[in-house]
Structure formats: structure tokens, C-alpha cells
Subunit: 345 residues, 2 copies
């Protein structure tokens, strides 16, 4: 589980990558790793290896980064409360990933077998539950019930978002408003609460706590749109997961929504049939059409709207230590989106 | 979700049935039903119908009953704190049932389609998560973090127990100690915390709070043994679920453990093969052998040991209002076990 043992990053380490921003958080992530490792002792001996396996595959740790950056008060300061809150959001997130992989019957995450493939779906559902429960237990270890209340509400909303998405799978009858609602619930919510925790636990003034939450919410929406773009325009080797899964599994994400709107009318029935699972998905064709119809700039624009809303939330807090760091995340996200296009889109 | 709308009880209503004891809790259960119904508004509109469906199938409500009985201070007193705590343990329990039914691919629970069959396994896993999250959210609505901390720890232990059980499925290499450990984690734990909540929230003295927890733990172990007996010796029409599922799914519960020990050596390979899933399960044969080898009295004796330990936990609190009510549960459980035998075992 040591961060040092991992390959430096799955994305390039220029200043416009997540890895670039997160480099400054290396000591914080080290503290988080140690904290998470210590948590293994809290689990029953019979399930520790499974829990450790799940933690190992946990990826970029964007949500913990949001906790640390929103509560930033200087590079040498690693507040134990922030480490614990980072562990809370990470454990909840990992639990949802473990359940996602069971439900999607996914084989690989972060270049390793998913917990579901390694241990079987039944233990994977249950270890997801145990990760959930322990994340929420850690949230009870603050002096007030506020943190635990916020994360349990947030978790319920994340699940609701995933339910809505799952009930809409294979449906082509989805609007942009539906997509936005799913994104708000399944992704923006935990980003929001991560920023809220960082600001709140660092003792920021209530106005900044609210602003940080709003920032996180919009950044989360932007991030999900980026992630949905990656599923088409990413490079498999760099991302470390299979592309085209949304088309294959019938998830009508924003790139597909835009494509459906822009394709000539006589070409949409075939795409609808692919989404509905009535015809095999034509990933290469759909990607080519997306390039021809300039879908990427359209979605880059939608990302830009959310990023601007995120930045606007912090407008009144220019002198606050976390503000420039959080704004840098906005730049990184936009650069990442731009980097998906063959000529920077 | 109205309790009044249900058939009176799935078990007979004599004084030695659970229904008999629970009759005195009718106003409390009514309050719990109203409270749970009010909670629907907290869920996102898109998932309310699913949540309501899951709550509807929730069964006997033994855990809420333990909360109410352990916090008993008179028939006219329905403390809001106890109602909320009862909702917490019920929601956590229902969440585990929903996940169990997904993993077991069960069709029917309480005479209705399981959530997994009604909505599909993916929404069912997620609605289980949402029920979990909301149960734990309700636990944050007490003034201190103590209640939420207790239920999150307990939930983790329940999951650990189910993981151990699931990893041991189809294995014939299980000892009584292994069985005891699974029972402690997956069942006794939530019974313990239910009694702890009732006593604690009623403001009982710390000695009684601890005693009630210990009572719940032993009663939970006894109850699980009874439940495992029912899977062989119960009457399908009365119980409302399919019998023989433990043998069919390769769960080596206490009746099967005892049968394996008592069968002549040359007959055990066939039974082992059935548990391992290498031969079709011979439920009628195994039940007949259990009767011939008098397995029921052996397990009735094991139940009696746990029931006695439960009663012993309350020994120093004879004058406390909850004590006689909790002890009556012990009598009921023993009567239920005895009632499984053709001649009262």
C-alpha cells in the first residue's frame, strides 16, 4: 500500500497534470497511506487481506487531495483531522468502486484484477460494505456528529445517482438534464463534501466552508464530464483501463448524447440500437464520428462552464491559502481535456 | 408499509411465540412504521419506491423489538430516541438482507419477490447501500457520536461475519468454533447493539447497559442457531421461505455439522459431496437422518447454553423494568425450538 512503491503516476508529470499538483501533497498522501494501513488492524483478521487489496487499487486519490487542498495552511502542516477526513472520503469512494466493479462485472482496475474477480462477487459486495462501514466509523471519531452526518447523506446521494444511472442503462431516452442530475449525485456530491471537510476541519470561516463546498461540487461535475470523455478519447495505455465501456454497457454519457444529437437523422437508429444493446457497439466508428462532428470541443465547453462556476465560488476568497491551489486544479482539468484532442482539440 | 395491513403474524400467536411478546410492542412498532415512512422523503425521489419496497419486506423486526424492550419504561412511553434507534438497526438489517438476496440469487423473501428479482441485482446492491447510508445518517442525529460509532463498528463486524461464511461456503472443513465465530459476527453483533441502544438511550445505569448488550449477544447467537434449525425442521407454509437453502447452497450450519459428526463413517462422503456441490442435495434424506440421530435435541441444548448465558447477564438486574421482558424472549426462543420437533423434540 506504500505510495512510494507505486509507479510515479499513470498520467504525465508536467505541471498541467494531476500528478503535478499532487506532487506537493506527497507528504500528505504518505500520511494518508500510513493512516489507512493502520486501519487494517480494525478489521477482523479474516478480512484484512481483502481490505488491503481493495485499498491498493484505489487510484489517483482526488477526493483526499481535495480535503488536503481545501484545508491547506502550508506545506509543513499535516493536520491529523484532515488525514482522517481524507481516509473517510477515500474509503467511501473505494467502497463504491468495489461495488461498481461487481455490478459491471469488470475485470481490471488500475492494472490489477478487481476485487470481484480476485475474490468473487459475494465477498466483494460484502467487503465493499465493510469499507463503507469503517469509513463512516472513522467519521464518528470527530468531536461532533457533523462530519458523519455529512458523509452519510453524501453517500446516500452517490448511491441514488448510481441507481438512476443503472435504471437508465440501455435507454436512449435521456436528456442533458438527466445526465446533469446523475453527475451531480454520483460524482459532484463526494467532491463537494471532500472540499467541505477540508475547509471545515481547518477551521475556515463559514463563508469559505460553503464556498469550498460549492467549488467541489462544480469541479466534480467537470471531472465526471472529463472522465466520460476519456472513455472515448483517452489512451488505454496511459489511463490503465479499457476504453469504450460506456458505449458497450449502454451508458448514455455526454459524448454519446452529443453524438446522437449531431448525427444525420438516418444514422441515429444504428447508434440507438448499439446503446440499447441490440447491435454490437462500433467503438472505432463512433469515435471517428465524434472527431468528425467536433464533439470534443463541445464538451470541453461544457467542462469550461463547470470549471468557471467552480472558480466563481472562490471569487471572494482570493487571499485564502487554499484558493490558488484549488484554482490550479481547474487549470489542470481543462488542460487534461484539451490534451485528449489530437491537436489539443 | 402499515403494520396493520400485514397478516397478524407469520408464527402462531400463543404466549410462547414471538408474536405474543411483540403484541405488547404494537404501539412502538406503529411509531417505528410511521417514522420509517417519514424517512422516505429523505431519499431522492427517483429511488423512493425502491426504498419503500425494501422496507415493506422487512419481516419480524426482532432488532427493533430488542431496542424497545431493553429501553422499556412502561407501556405508555414511546421515547422518540428509541424509535430512531430502532429505525437505525432495522435499516442496517434490511440493507444486509437486500445484499444477501442479491448474492444468494434468492427469489422470495416474506412471500414477495426480493428487491434483486423485482429491480435487478445492480439497483438492489445500490439501494442496499443507500439504506445503509441512511440508517447510519439517522444514527448521527443523536447528540453524541457514540450511537453512530457503535452501529458502524457493528455493521463492519456483521459484514466480516458474512464474508467468513461466504468464503467457507461449500467447504466441509469447518469446526464448531468456526460456526460460533460466524454467528457471533453476523447475528449476535446487531442483537447486542440493539439491546445496548435501548438501555443506553433509556438512560439506564452503565452496569445495566453492559448487561443488556451481553444479553443481546447471547440471545443473538441462540436466535441464529434456531434460524439454522428452521431451515431443516421448519414448516415452509408457516415460515414463509424455502427450506433446505443452507444444504443447497453449501452452508455448513450447526445441524449439518452435527449430522456430519454423527453419521456412520461410510455415509459421510456422500453428505460432504452434497455440501461441496458435487452431488445434488438430498434434503428429505438428510432431514430424516437428523431425526433418526436426534440432532434437534443436541442443538436445542446448544441454544439452551446461549439462552442461559443471556439470562445470566441480567441476573443482577431482577428489578429493572426491561429484565422480565427480555427474559420472556429467552422462554419464547426455547419454546420455538422445542416446537420444531414432531413431539416437541
Amino acid at each position: 500500500m506504500s505510495r512510494a512503491a507505486r509507479p510515479a503516476a499513470t498520467e504525465d508529470s508536467t505541471s498541467n497534470s494531476f500528478a503535478g499538483v499532487f506532487a506537493m501533497l506527497a507528504p500528505h498522501m504518505g500520511a494518508l497511506d500510513r493512516f489507512l494501513h493502520e486501519q487494517l488492524a480494525a478489521f477482523e483478521p479474516e478480512i484484512r487481506a481483502m481490505v488491503e487489496y481493495c485499498l491498493d487499487t484505489s487510484g489517483k486519490r482526488i477526493r483526499p487531495a481535495l480535503v488536503f487542498l481545501s484545508g491547506w495552511s502550508g506545506a509543513n502542516e499535516i493536520a491529523p483531522d484532515l488525514v482522517r477526513a481524507a481516509a473517510v472520503v477515500e474509503l467511501v469512494h473505494v467502497a463504491t468502486l468495489v461495488h461498481d466493479d461487481v455490478m459491471d462485472e469488470a475485470d481490471v482496475r488500475r492494472r490489477r484484477l478487481t476485487a470481484s474477480r480476485e475474490y468473487g462477487p459475494t465477498p466483494a459486495v460484502l467487503v465493499g460494505d465493510a469499507l463503507f462501514a469503517h469509513g463512516l466509523y472513522l467519521a464518528t471519531q470527530f468531536p461532533t456528529t457533523e462530519i458523519c452526518a455529512a458523509v452519510t447523506e453524501s453517500t446516500r446521494r452517490v448511491c441514488a445517482g448510481e441507481i438512476v444511472q443503472s435504471l437508465r442503462r440501455r435507454s436512449t431516452d435521456i436528456t442533458r438534464a438527466d445526465y446533469q442530475r446523475i453527475v451531480e449525485l454520483k460524482t459532484a456530491e463526494l467532491f463537494r463534501v471532500s472540499c467541505f471537510f477540508g475547509a471545515r476541519l481547518a477551521g475556515s470561516r463559514p463563508g469559505f466552508v460553503t464556498a469550498a463546498g460549492r467549488f467541489g461540487q462544480h469541479l466534480g461535475a467537470a471531472y465526471q464530464m472529463y472522465d466520460d470523455l476519456v472513455d472515448f478519447f483517452g489512451e488505454e495505455a496511459r489511463i490503465g483501463k479499457t476504453l469504450g465501456t460506456d458505449l458497450a454497457s449502454g451508458k448514455l454519457t455526454l459524448p454519446l448524447l452529443e453524438l446522437l444529437e449531431r448525427l444525420p437523422a438516418d444514422e441515429t437508429p444504428a447508434l440507438r440500437a448499439e446503446i440499447a444493446g441490440e447491435r454490437p457497439p462500433q467503438f472505432a466508428l463512433r469515435l471517428r464520428q465524434m472527431r468528425e462532428l467536433a464533439i470534443l470541443p463541445v464538451i470541453a465547453e461544457a467542462v469550461q462552464v463547470e470549471v468557471a462556476a467552480a472558480a466563481a465560488a472562490l471569487q471572494e476568497w482570493p487571499g485564502h491559502a487554499p484558493t490558488p491551489l484549488l484554482l490550479r486544479l481547474c487549470d489542470v482539468l481543462q488542460a487534461q481535456v484539451a490534451g485528449l484532442g489530437p491537436a489539443g482539440a
